[in-house]
C-alpha cells in the first residue's frame, strides 16, 4: 500500500512539474521545472524496478539535457514578461483533451500494473531472456545482455543515433570540428 502511496506521490510530483513546465511563461523557469520533472521520473523508474533506466534518466534528464537547455538559453534572449503563467488556450485543450480521452479509453484493455500473466511481464520472450541470458552471454544483468547481445543491432543503431546527433549539431551550427 505504501508502495502505491509512493507511486501516487511521485505521479503527483511529476504531473505538477509537467504542468508547471507547460504553463510557466519564463523559459528558464520551464527548464527548471523540467529538471525537477526528470528527478521525479527517475524515482518512478527505480520504483518500477528499472535501475538501468533510472540511471540513464538521472544522467540524461538531470545532467546533460538540462545543461544543454541552459546553454541554449544562454545563447538566446527571450523578452521579459510580467506574467507568471501563460494563458491557457481552450481550443487546444479541447483538441488535446479529445486525444487524451481517446487514448484513455484504451487503458482498461491494458493489463493491470504488475500482472504476472501479462504478455510482456510474464511472456515467453521475457522468460527466455531471463533463463538464457546468463548462459548465452555470461552477463548477469539481463538488461545489458539483451541490450548488447540479443538486441545488439538496436544498440548499434543507438550508438549511431548519438553519433549522428553530434555530426548534425556540427553541421547545424556550421562548425567543422568539435570544441
Amino acid at each position: 500500500m505504501s508502495l502505491t502511496l509512493l507511486q501516487g506521490a511521485l505521479l503527483v510530483f511529476v504531473l505538477c512539474c509537467a504542468v508547471g513546465a507547460a504553463l510557466l511563461k519564463d523559459t528558464l523557469a520551464a527548464v527548471i521545472a523540467f529538471a525537477a520533472y526528470s528527478l521525479g521520473i527517475s524515482i518512478i523508474w527505480l520504483v518500477l524496478q528499472a535501475p538501468d533506466v533510472g540511471l540513464t534518466e538521472a544522467a540524461v534528464g538531470a545532467g546533460i539535457m538540462t545543461i544543454l537547455f541552459i546553454l541554449a538559453l544562454a545563447n538566446t534572449v527571450t523578452p521579459e514578461t510580467d506574467r507568471l503563467f501563460e494563458p491557457i488556450r481552450w481550443r487546444t485543450v479541447l483538441f488535446v483533451g479529445a486525444f487524451v480521452v481517446a487514448l484513455g479509453a484504451t487503458v482498461p484493455s491494458l493489463p493491470a500494473i504488475g500482472d504476472p500473466t501479462a504478455p510482456v511481464a510474464g511472456g515467453e520472450i521475457t522468460q527466455y531472456y531471463l533463463e538464457h541470458a546468463y548462459k548465452e552471454t555470461q552477463v548477469k544483468n539481463a538488461v545489458t545482455a539483451v541490450l548488447a547481445a540479443y538486441r545488439g543491432f538496436d544498440t548499434l543503431g543507438e550508438a549511431v543515433v548519438v553519433f549522428s546527433a553530434g555530426v548534425v549539431a556540427l553541421s547545424v551550427l556550421r562548425r567543422e570540428v568539435f570544441a
Binding site: L103, A105, T106, S109, L110, P111, A118, P119, V120, G123, E124, I125, T126, Y128, Y129, H132, E136, A149, Y150, R151, G152, F153, D154, L156, G157, E158, V160, V161, F163, S164, A165, G166, V167, V168, L170, S171, V172, E176, V177
Partner: protein, 491 residues
Amino acid sequence: MIEHLPVLLVVVPIIGGAVPLVASLYTDRAGWPIAVLTMAGHATLVGLLAEQVWSDGVVSYAVGGFALPYGIELVVDGLSLSVVALISAISLGVLAYARHAGPHENTFYSQFLLLVTGLTGMTVTGDVFNLYVFLEITGLAAYGLVASGRAASAAVAALKYLIIGTVGASLYLLGVGYALAATGTLNMADMSAKLATVGYDSTLVLTAFGLMVGGLTVKVALFPLHTWQPDAYANSPDSVSAFISALVSTVSAYALARLLFSVFTVNFLTAVPAARWALIAVASVSIVAGSALAVAQSNVQRMLAYSSVSQFGLVIVGFTIATPIAVVGATVHLVGHAVMKGGLFAASGIIERETGADTVGGYAGMGSRTPIAAGAFTVLALGMVGVPPAIGFVGKWYILVGAVEAEIWPVVAVVLLSTLLTLAYFARLGERLYFAEPTIREEAAVADGGESVSTGMLAVVVIAAILAVALTAAVPAVEQLLNETLPLLIQ
C-alpha cells in the same frame, strides 16, 4: 560472406559515416571520396544481394546468431530489395550531383551516409523496434541535411521537420508499446502470428495499428500531417532536396507497407474494414488535397513537395487495397516516384542555378536557356502526370487495376481525378518553360544566381529522365520478383 549481406548493407555506411569526422581534422574535403567509396561498396552488396534474393526468394538473417524471435532479424524479400536498390542507386546519383553542387563539408557527407544507414536499416529490418531506431537515424540525418542549407530559413524548416517528425516517430513508438503489450514480442513475423491469436478486434491491436500507422503517415507526409514537407524540401540545398524527396518519405511508405503486410497482414485489413477504409480515406484525401495545394503554389520546389503529398497518397492507397496487382503497382509507383521526384528536384536546382528562376512565373521561357535541364524536367513531369510509357503511368495503372479488381470505385475516381490535377500543375510549368516569353533577363539571371553547373549534375538529371521511361521495361522483372514475395505477404 555471402549470407551476411543484409547486415553488411547497414554496417558499411555506418563505417563510412564515422570516418569523415576524423578526416576533418586533416582535410575539409575528404567527405566526397569517402562517400563514393562507401556507396560503391553498398551498391556492390546490393547487387550480390539481388542475386541471392532472386534465387532464394527471401533472405533472413539473425543478427548475433540468436534464436529468432529473441534476437533481431533482418529480412530481405522482393519488396525490400527493390527499395534497397533504389536507395543505392539514388544515393550514387545524388553523390554525382553533389560533387559540384555541394554542400562540400565533411559533415554533409557524414550525414549523407548516416541517412543511407537509416534508410537501409529501415528497409531490411524485420523487427518493429529496430525499425523505430532506424527511423530516428533517418530522421536525425534528414533534419541535419535540411539544415545544412545556408539560408536562415533552412533552420526553421529543419526544426519544424524535427518536431513534427519526432511526434510521428513517438506515436509509432507508442504503437509499438501497445503491440508489445498485446503480444510480448517485437519480431515482425512472430508478432504477426501472435496478433492473430490475440484477435484483430482487440482494443490493444486496434490502438497499436492506429498509432503505428498514424505515426508513419506523419513521416510519409500524408495530408493533413504533411506541413513539414514543403518547408523542408524548399529550403534545403538542391542535392539534399533531391535526396530527401526521393528517399525519406519513400522508405517510410515502404515501412508502412511492411507493417501492413508483415505485421498486421491482409487478414487484419479484411477483418477490420474500418481500419482499411480509414487509411484509404486518409490517402485519398491526401491525393486530392496535395494536388490542389500544389496547384496553388508559386514556388516550384514547394509545388513539387505538395505533389509528393499527393503521390504518396496514391502509393498508400495501392498498398491498402492489398491485392497483388495493387501492391505491385504501389511498389512500382514508390520506386518510380522516387526517381522522378528526385530528378525533378535536381533539375529544378539546375534551372535555378543557371537562370535564377525558382517560381512558376520565373520559369517562363527558360526552356531555351537551359535546354537539357528543362527537357529532363519536362520528361519527368510528364512521367509524374502518368503519361505512358513512363514509369508513372505503369504504377498508376496497376493501382487502378487493383482498385477495379477490388471494386473500390471511389478510389478509381480519385486516382483518375488526380491524374488531371497533376496535369493541371505540371502543364502550367511545361507551357511556361517552352511557350512563353522570359520574365527574367539573362544578365539579371547571371548576376543573381550565376552558379555553375557541372556535367555530372546534368548527367544525373538526364539519367533520371531516361530512367523514368526506361524503368518501365524493368517492371516485369519487379513483378516477377514481387510475385515470389507477395504470396508470403498476401495470403
